[in-house]
């Protein structure tokens, strides 16, 4: 069988400096058969997206294809005129981008956007295209197709938008589909839903698929063959099963180790030893906190939050997007005054607004944000970024300050020369290190880490986590580690707080939370983390009828248990009406549920 799509000895160059070009894809060969999924895997900068885009005969501004051929059904795309290439795009080759939210036009109804490419290419008249699209919606397991196509993009959840992107791409029945990190920005529960839909669709349509990602666990679920790329070179290729079970190349092994093992349900609870909660020194304690946005009509995002962070320990906060995790960090940092409730720092109440806090309190609590690109002022040099907290909190000047900046750079494992650089001259991982070093400069007791690894590659993210651990050992700093990735939290935290729709549904020591009994939501999260084996997704699909509710997005509830609409164990009339009481399993482990512990243990 001849492959439907072939890339042969492809070289792509990117502009470097004023006139020079340097190669970023160096002689890549790939072929894809109909109905087959080939995954490109690698870190950012490995050339995987560039290669995938070249399948459209397209490269990003500042890049150029210098050599090689790209054959679709035996026709070399590169030899075609721009007009002919445009004819192919969206018709025979379709592309699904990473961020569906950014790829939809917010002002046009979904139905019209999905069929746009089919109509533009004159493949079918509008009404026929609409009917065809409705069929695809059903195949993608999108609910209530008719109503959906009448909505605007902002009225649809992220997972649904991502599937609609696929529907858009499939509306012209292309021979080749390119998926560029389609699930990277999604929550684990949403990711399953999208992966399931893609898998179904590919099987039915017999499309050749190129799947670009940096996540090996996802690749294991969906790909038939894997191409491991680094710096524009193929490091290893082979069947998915072979690559995962018997990686030959060193780099592939590095990628494998960077995949955090999914949190295993441990069998026993943490030992119920003899200590009283009041005795632990608490960097932060929060009592019946309520917080929200808006001035006149408050939209409440956090309700009745009670938690504490012990000195020198890591507390993980976990939940899907929209659960109020970041809001929690902003309240503690004094960026968002709470509606009611108190925040204590070593037993002393903190003023709600950062400006009213003492300098010592401000120094002790530092915050590190998710996006390194916007968390550092692009007009400040690294030395200014790190120097300001040194001046502000510690009153250091000139020489001592300079020396301390170098020490800080050393601490986060960056060379001293980075002092005089601007953020734009750093990579994402390096920026995140500077971000961290800025927090460390104040010599704080607690660092609020808001999704610090989420925007980074797996390998870089792992390095940041290792660094955080090392700093904790050396400096005794405590972390409030916010993440939507349960495996990251499990690899790192001492205590875990599970947040759902603005309420704490479960909290306790890591071991207690990972061991049954679980709150149904914790259970769902645990089951949704993809594992590094090829049959995981199929198992999940076949074994869980509860997946019906997996795709529901987080909704705030004013009465009853926030989770009851998605809960497989929900009790009619009770869960929707009353707020559940706290169940205690072992000391310091609490679950908010109406069910008995014995029922949750199953």
């Amino acid at each position: 069988m001849t492959p439907i799509f072939e890339i042969d000895n492809l070289w792509v160059e990117a502009q470097a400096g004023k006139t020079g070009y340097k190669p970023i894809v160096k002689g890549i060969n790939v072929d894809v058969n109909a109905g087959e999924v080939v995954a490109f895997i690698g870190e950012s900068g490995s050339g995987k997206t560039t290669t995938a885009l070249s399948a459209l005969g397209y490269c990003k501004p500042g890049c150029r294809i210098v050599q090689g051929s790209i054959r679709l059904n035996g026709v070399d795309i590169l030899s075609l005129s721009p007009e002919a290439r445009r004819h192919i795009r969206g018709r025979e080759v379709a592309y699904v981008a990473q961020s569906a939210a950014a790829a939809f036009n917010p002002a046009i109804r979904i139905g019209r956007q999905v069929i746009e490419s089919a109509v533009i290419h004159d493949l079918m008249p509008q009404d026929q295209a609409l009917r065809h699209a409705l069929e695809i919606y059903q195949r993608l397991a999108l609910p209530d197709a008719e109503a959906l196509s009448q909505r605007y993009p902002h009225q649809v959840s992220g997972g649904q938008l991502q599937r609609l992107m696929a529907a858009m791409a499939m509306s012209s029945s292309p021979a080749v589909l390119i998926l560029d990190e389609p699930t990277t920005a999604l929550d684990v529960t949403t990711q399953i839903e999208v992966l399931m839909a893609f898998k179904e669709l590919i099987k039915k349509q017999n499309t050749a698929v190129i799947y670009v990602t940096h996540d090996l666990a996802v690749v294991a679920q969906i790909a038939d063959r894997v191409v491991v790329m680094r710096n524009g070179i193929v490091m290893e290729r082979g069947a998915t099963q072979d690559i995962i079970s018997r990686p030959k190349n060193d780099y592939t092994r590095t990628l494998m180790t960077a995949v955090r093992p999914p949190p295993k349900s441990v069998s026993s609870k943490a030992d119920d030893s003899d200590w009283a909660e009041d005795d632990i020194p608490k960097v932060i304690e929060i009592r019946s906190l309520k917080a929200g946005y808006g001035r006149i009509e408050k939209k409440i995002v956090l309700e009745d939050i009670n938690l504490y962070v012990p000195k020198g320990q890591t507390v993980g906060v976990i939940g899907e997007s929209g659960c109020g995790k970041s809001t929690l960090a902003r309240v503690i940092a004094g960026l968002l005054p709470q509606v009611s409730g108190d925040v204590f720092h070593h037993g002393v109440e903190l003023p709600a607004v950062a400006r009213h806090r003492t300098r010592q309190d401000l120094k002790n609590i530092q915050i590190v944000f998710q996006m390194p690109d916007v968390a550092i002022n692009p007009r400040h040099k690294v030395a200014d970024v790190l120097g300001r907290p040194l001046e502000f909190f510690l009153g250091l000047e000139a020489k001592t300050k300079d020396k301390r900046i170098e020490e800080l750079l050393d601490l986060v494992e960056l060379p001293k020369e980075y002092k005089s650089r601007y953020p734009a001259e750093l990579s994402g991982g390096e920026k995140q290190r500077i971000n961290l070093a800025r927090a460390l400069a104040a010599e704080p007791e607690l660092i609020l880490c808001d999704e610090v690894t989420s925007s980074l590659d797996t390998v870089v993210g792992k390095a940041i986590i290792d660094l955080l651990k090392k700093l904790q050992d050396d400096l005794g700093v405590a972390y409030l580690f916010i993440s939507h990735d349960l495996s990251t939290v499990a690899s790192f935290a001492d205590r875990v707080i599970v947040l759902y729709a603005g309420r704490v549904v479960e909290q306790g020591a890591l071991q207690s939370v990972l061991a049954p009994p679980h709150h149904p939501y914790t259970q769902l999260l645990l089951e949704s983390v993809p594992e590094l084996r090829t049959d995981w997704l199929d198992n999940v699909i076949s074994s869980k009828e509860a997946l019906v509710n997996i795709s529901r997005s987080v909704e705030m509830e004013t009465v009853g248990c926030p989770f009851y609409k998605r809960c497989s164990l929900a009790i009619e009339d009770l869960c929707s009406q009353q707020m559940p009481a706290l169940l205690q399993t072992v000391k310091d482990h609490k679950i908010a549920c109406h069910r008995d512990l014995s029922e949750l243990s199953k």
Binding site: A103, F369, V374, A424, A442
Partner: protein
């Protein structure tokens, strides 16, 4: 499908280019630069080159044709048009520069304060600004100057305040975008004061779009001052100002004299020159900032 080709994850703050000379001057930018440099040179050296003083009456003939008396003929009082254009460069450009600098200082400080200081301050300042903008600017200037007098200082301050309403709008919008960025949150969480945040976090990030706006406002200031001088306010005789000169010599057009056209050409060429540079600069900083300005 077109939407698919959009660049993803573009940040609102434009990146500092690694190499500031990344985008070379285009041909039109070169022309603009030459024109502006030429006028700057004239403004500096004008009185040295000028064959006569601006107030010297060199002939009895009003509106003498070009070449007969002096290089560009004489004006309605028989003064040398060429010398007056040279003198006028200094006056017109100097006034416009001072006015624009003043309007930017006022507009930026108020705009940044409004954006950082929360709802009530912002609401009050923005509504006051709207009220000021509701008056046609030339009429507002006429009212103020006819009641306060027509000295240069009053004119400069009036025009600067009227112009600063536009700067206020732009700088507030820019600062609004930046003040929700996480690095500003970091500064707030550190307990920094409003003034520090404005100065160190917000201002440096608005520099590129603001300097482009500066070019545009500068040309508007020239036109505005010329218009006021034309109406008899502003620059007073016998001082030479391009706008004033157009007004004085308007009747000369009936006799086929070019005395009114020369200063008009000067205003036009300077305006075009500055705009050519601004266009190039806007394209260089690119993207959102440019759209913001061209609205």
């Amino acid at each position: 499908m077109i939407a698919l080709w959009k660049r993803k994850g573009q940040s609102a703050v434009e990146e500092v280019p690694a190499d500031p000379r990344a985008m070379p001057l285009t041909a039109s930018a070169w022309i603009g630069l030459l024109i502006v440099l030429f006028w700057i040179l004239i403004a500096l050296l004008g009185p040295v080159i000028a064959p006569h003083l601006e107030s010297d009456i060199i002939t009895d003939v009003s509106f003498a044709p070009a070449g007969e008396v002096g290089l560009l003929g004489s004006d309605y009082l028989g003064r040398d048009v060429f010398s007056r254009v040279l003198y006028g460069a200094r006056m017109t450009m100097g006034l416009a520069l001072v006015t624009t600098l003043l309007s930017f200082s006022i507009g930026c400080i108020l705009g940044f304060t409004a954006a950082t200081c929360g709802r009530w301050v912002d609401g009050f300042m923005s509504r006051a600004n709207d009220a000021l903008m509701a008056f046609p600017s030339i009429i507002l200037a006429l009212i103020v100057m006819s009641s306060l007098g027509t000295s240069l200082v009053i004119m400069v301050v009036t025009v600067a305040i009227i112009d600063s309403t536009r700067v206020f709008r732009l700088s507030r919008a820019l600062a609004m975008d930046i003040s929700v960025m996480e690095f500003v949150d970091v500064a707030r969480a550190r307990g920094e004061g409003v003034w520090w945040i404005i100065r160190k976090e917000i201002f440096p990030n608005t520099l590129a779009p603001l300097s482009a706006e500066f070019g545009i406002r500068f040309t508007f200031a020239i036109l505005f001052i010329s218009a006021l001088s034309f109406l008899g306010l502003g620059v007073q005789p016998p001082a030479a100002d391009w706008g004033k000169m157009v007004a004085e010599n308007l009747q000369g057009l009936l006799f086929g004299s070019a005395a009114a056209l020369m200063p008009a050409c000067a205003v036009a060429s300077l305006t075009v020159g500055v705009n050519l540079i601004v266009d190039w600069f806007l394209r260089r900083i690119g993207g959102g900032a440019a759209e913001e300005l061209l609205k």
